[in-house]
Symmetry: C3
Subunit: 262 residues, 3 copies
């Protein structure tokens, strides 16, 4: 676990270009900004080339895709791949909606993702494993999530994060887990989207995508846990607001003190 | 008043599919989620069929409509009507903007709404009554709101909610009122949109749309009132954040204790 | 400095029509509403004529422009100019992205802005001065910001606000500065967008755009500073929430007591 990446992120303020979900976009921008990255959101294909040039990494979120946005995502991914900039894909709802799954597959044929972050149901769908999703939620599955994550990473030649109560991370060979967190992440819409873009911020400051993914998951999960330790009374609204405060002030030593991972 | 619907909603976590207003969409998603429903937002017509299939009910909000979105709304409504799923329409600004009124009327020709929730000016406009709207706010009118609500319900063959300081609800025959609330609902943009989607969540767990509408209005209004009783110092920002906490934790007994309705 | 404009704004509740940035739109709507203005957001060109007719002023934000939105912005600006309603332009990222700069220039050829509010890098780009932007942030420049602001105002025949730690305002002849504020404005994404729309609200209640601009900057900056004086522990999340409370309750006398400007 390379927790010193947090200091590196804050020193270098990487620019994360987002093809965003309009439901959660403000939270994602504020989360990136609070942590020390520099968010840009764009919807117009005519400016993608300039935006990618300026970006340190990109985050593509399928949350509220449209055909126009898919065209922009494809162009964004192609240009980022050419420029060898890290690409994070958040395949929202591919476990529940076939159109989403097909879209994710087409995008992944057009450009390689560096890291894919989804819930268990989304990762299982991308990997071709059976899982029982409920709406856009992870649902419950009986598969071996380690195996699903590892094999999906092998299939798609990237690092996979299946996030949830425990985050499972694999580059196709190694498996890592992050056990920190709080149920309030699930109670707030957009926690997953925020994590995906934060993963992109860490990928911008670390060549090893497996390490970037682990560190991002630990920083995010531990920050939420530290918040709830300090404010045990929070509900989903107060949690989401304090989360920004804690992302801005959380220290490496505080994370180390509570970190649970393997 | 069927307040036990709240427990039913939290047990069954109905999926509410939203054609959303981009100004308030994050709040709406978080409000639904906090209360115990499962929000989905979609902007792409190509996935509407799958989305409606998965949904328990749908909420169509005209708040920031575009021609593309109107096409999607129409398809969404048609499919939901075929599948006999409850449809809630929020006719934002139809009292102030003729293009909005025409759009709402065209949509209502294409599919029947189960429940329409708007402010007094919007309901009056749909019913064909004179009212003096101000911008997208309710404005002030001198009509008899009970009569306007009842007759609009008769005309449009649905349940109507004219929400405001007092919520007036009619199915064309019966009239109900909810007197709970707080002025802070008006001070926060998006309270109305959130209520409309919460009405859709209750309609998903209750076949009687008049009862679902009443219960949704009471739960929402009383939750805000309970919040302000506990935190009398809140302004519009802190109110909106605590609202999520209270939607997540509010109990049927707490609502019963302060409920004012007839 | 005409601080009595705040009372006038709250009495008259001007309607501010926004062509909005989808990242920050909810905050902008809530900020306008909290202060006492009445926000409307629109994305559809077919309703622009009615919307402009109803509006007291308009705010055009390039933050997440699309070709469709640019067409709507152009129409909105043309109609507002014909109706002699104040037009505020927020040229987000024109200092970093050439496509944005060209778009801003085309819009300004189509209609005159009354006030343009941006960061130093954006204003320098519009004025044709060298500056070193970083992503969509102001970056750092070595130019004389007074001179850049004044000359850009002369060139574009409008009032210019270059906002930042110090806000610099010019109508091409006079120069004003507002020194109040807090670094938390920079820590929260959307502070600038909110200020631009608040400038439009003040421009709706004051024929002198230079005075409207100054007053808006002082009210906004001092409100943030008062908030932080009362709550020194706030981070970016709690700041953004309290900001709504303080915009709703801030008094002219409180602003006067801490005002620093020339």
């Amino acid at each position: 676990m390379k927790l010193d990446l947090l200091a590196k992120l804050r020193e270098t303020n990487p620019i994360v270009l987002n093809a965003a979900n309009f439901v959660t976009v403000q939270d994602v921008a504020n989360g990136l900004n609070a942590l020390g990255a520099s968010p840009i959101m764009s919807k117009e294909i005519a400016e993608v080339e300039e935006m990618v040039q300026m970006a340190s990494s990109i985050a593509i979120n399928l949350g509220t895709l449209t055909k126009l946005q898919i065209m922009q995502m494809k162009e964004m991914g192609l240009l980022a791949a050419q420029a060898q900039k890290p690409i994070v894909l958040d395949p929202v709802a591919v476990g529940a909606v076939n159109y989403r799954l097909q879209t994710a597959q087409k995008l992944l044929e057009a450009f390689p993702a560096t890291i894919i972050r989804g819930n268990a149901g989304e990762i299982a769908a991308l990997g071709g494993f059976a899982w029982n999703a409920k709406g856009i939620d992870a649902g419950s599955g009986s598969g071996d999530l380690d195996e699903i994550t590892r094999k999906t990473a092998q299939k798609l030649h990237c690092t996979i994060i299946a996030s949830g109560v425990t985050d499972t991370i694999s580059d196709g060979q190694n498996i890592a887990h992050v056990y920190n967190g709080t149920p309030l992440f699930q109670a707030h819409v957009g926690s997953g989207d925020m994590l995906s873009s934060i993963v992109a911020a860490f990928a911008a400051v670390c060549d090893n995508s497996f390490e970037a993914a682990q560190t991002a998951c630990l920083v995010f999960a531990a920050t939420g846990e530290l918040l709830v330790n300090d404010h045990p009374e929070v509900g989903p609204g107060t949690f989401s607001m304090y989360l920004m405060d804690y992302l801005a002030k959380v220290k490496e030593t505080e994370i180390t003190a509570i970190a649970k991972f393997d």
